[in-house]
């Protein structure tokens, strides 16, 4: 029997939240009737204190999506928190799926730049999606990406070293020197770019950790799965990897379109 998630909305739902609900519907029926006693779990969007108190009285798993920036202890006590910058599952940018973006490490980017006779220290200040593995050409080949809040998810997912502001880093839960470098003025950005260009090891480590953050905390599919798990919802049959091949190649984030997937499938009886 399909589980039911009751919806509690305290403010006008954002586009990101709406997108999230569409994906959550793969796991359960989402009911706008929050008063329904048949709900197996509750999903709250920026709830009012009254809504929070009422939901807290129900003995079902709960998750809270907060965009208000005000997260009280009473809300945190409800259960899983889905909120930018709070250390839970972060879901700030609609439309980005890390699994649809190929991770291109810095040394591979260099090979692309060499082939195209591009600037060895190419910096991209407008990371964006596109046709090359889900990235624009410049985003795919740049040695460094300078990202803002709109582009941070795709920049991190791309596997490049990223420079951003402290506010943006905070919102996606990234740490300076770990998943990216933080700079809040132009001189700081230039210094950060220079530091990345001067050390291949730093570039590689930032690119790798940034990608992992994108996969684990910014990827919509991953975020939805994490919330569904917290709400006790079963994995939809359609998403279950029943084949060993799929599991083995899936945990290496192999694109389903990769030729090796076909070759491996054909090699099995």
């Amino acid at each position: 029997m399909t589980a039911v998630v009751g919806l509690v909305v305290g403010a006008s739902p954002s586009a990101a939240f709406t997108d999230f609900l569409v994906q959550l519907s793969a796991y359960a029926d989402v009911s706008a009737d929050a008063a329904s006693t048949s709900a197996d779990a509750l999903m709250l969007f920026d709830p009012t204190p009254q809504q929070t108190a009422k939901a807290g009285g129900l003995a079902v798993p709960r998750a809270v999506w907060s965009e208000s920036g005000v997260v009280g202890a009473d809300v945190q006590a409800l259960g899983m928190l889905v909120s930018p910058g709070t250390g839970g599952v972060t879901f700030p940018v609609p439309g980005v799926r890390a699994c649809a973006v190929l991770a291109i490490p810095p040394f591979m980017r260099r090979r692309w730049r060499l082939r195209g006779n591009l600037d060895p220290g190419l910096v991209c200040r407008q990371p964006a999606g596109g046709r090359r593995g889900g990235l624009s050409d410049e985003t795919a080949m740049a040695a460094v990406l300078v990202a803002d809040m709109d582009s941070i998810a795709i920049a991190l997912a791309s596997g490049a070293p990223v420079v951003t502001t402290s506010a943006t880093a905070l919102k996606v839960g990234a740490r300076h020197g770990h998943e990216l470098l933080v700079a809040d003025d132009e001189a700081g950005v230039e210094a950060a770019i220079a530091a990345i260009l001067a050390d291949d090891g730093v570039a590689a480590a930032l690119g790798r950790r940034g990608r992992r953050l994108a996969e684990q905390r910014l990827d919509q599919g991953h975020a939805v799965a994490a919330v569904a798990h917290a709400l006790g919802l079963a994995t939809p049959v359609a998403d279950a990897e029943s084949l060993a091949l799929g599991r083995r190649l899936g945990d290496l984030w192999t694109p389903p379109t990769a030729a090796v997937v076909t070759r491996m499938a054909r090699s099995l009886p």
């Binding site: 490490p105 591979m108 590689a204 790798r208 290496l252």
Partner: protein
Amino acid sequence: MTRKLKVCVAGAQVPFMRGGAEQAVENLTVALRDAGHQADLVRLPVAWDAGRILESAAAWRFVAVDADVVIATNFPSYFIRHPHKVVWLFHQHRPLYDAYDMPWSDFTNDDASLELQRLLSDWDTRALEEATARFTLSDLVTDRLRTFNGLSSTTLYHPAPLQSELHSGRYDDYFLCVSRLERNKRVDLALRGFAAAPGNSRFVVAGEGGERGNLEKLAQELGVASRVELRGFVDDDVLIDLFANCRAVIYTPIQEDYGYVTLQAFAAAKPVITVADSGGVLEWVTDGVTGRVVATDPAALGEAVAQLAADAELAQRMGEAGAARANQLTWQPVVETLLASV
């Protein structure tokens, strides 16, 4: 008392080929057993060509191993899945990384090849990330892992094969080169360096490989064929004797991962003449102390050969300094370190 563990050593192997990595996994397995553990060596064949390289890696994902710990070593054995996977990295697939521009790399810069490289490097990083602990056999391999994959690791040195049997003898008037005769071992450079030195020393090469014909031809062209002996594969007793009585060893591979030949030369108290881009060899050879490190140039090599050809006492002093370093290496700390996290 130390807990006795069931340990699987994982190593990939090119069928019918035996080099340093094959010896290392065998010796590690023996060392684990000597330490009281139940150890077994698990091998899968590997094909290095770009058209099959992903299959070679993926094959390890399907291997189920019941053991307390798996120690994975060379590419692609570390693709094995295990909750206690310790990686002691001998080498990655170098044509993908530092050897991309080398003649033996079959990766190109067309779209399909670049995507294959991207995917393989992504797989590589993820498989190595899974490890509960990461070690490498040299600082060079540690640095490659950091530079290309952004992963940290700890260098863990180990003794070379035959270390306990190797011994010092005379300092005869021949220079020794022990190597597979393949392009990346650059025996041709060693030969050119030898030929650049004046005198009547001999150059003895122990090892076999695809470059043999080219080396024979080169020796003729350089006018030193009468002083060059390409012995081919020699058994251990002969090799020990060759090490024991040579004046010095010439060893000039390209960015060698570790280089057993260096440690074997030292164990026989012989200095090593090498070049600036020989990689892991340089972690052992200190110029003027345990051998000579010169520019990657036949003339510079020739000067070093001439220096040691003229001064056997200098060769002995350098060789004994090398022996003092090599003889500190034992397997016990290697085993203890690899299993410390279990």
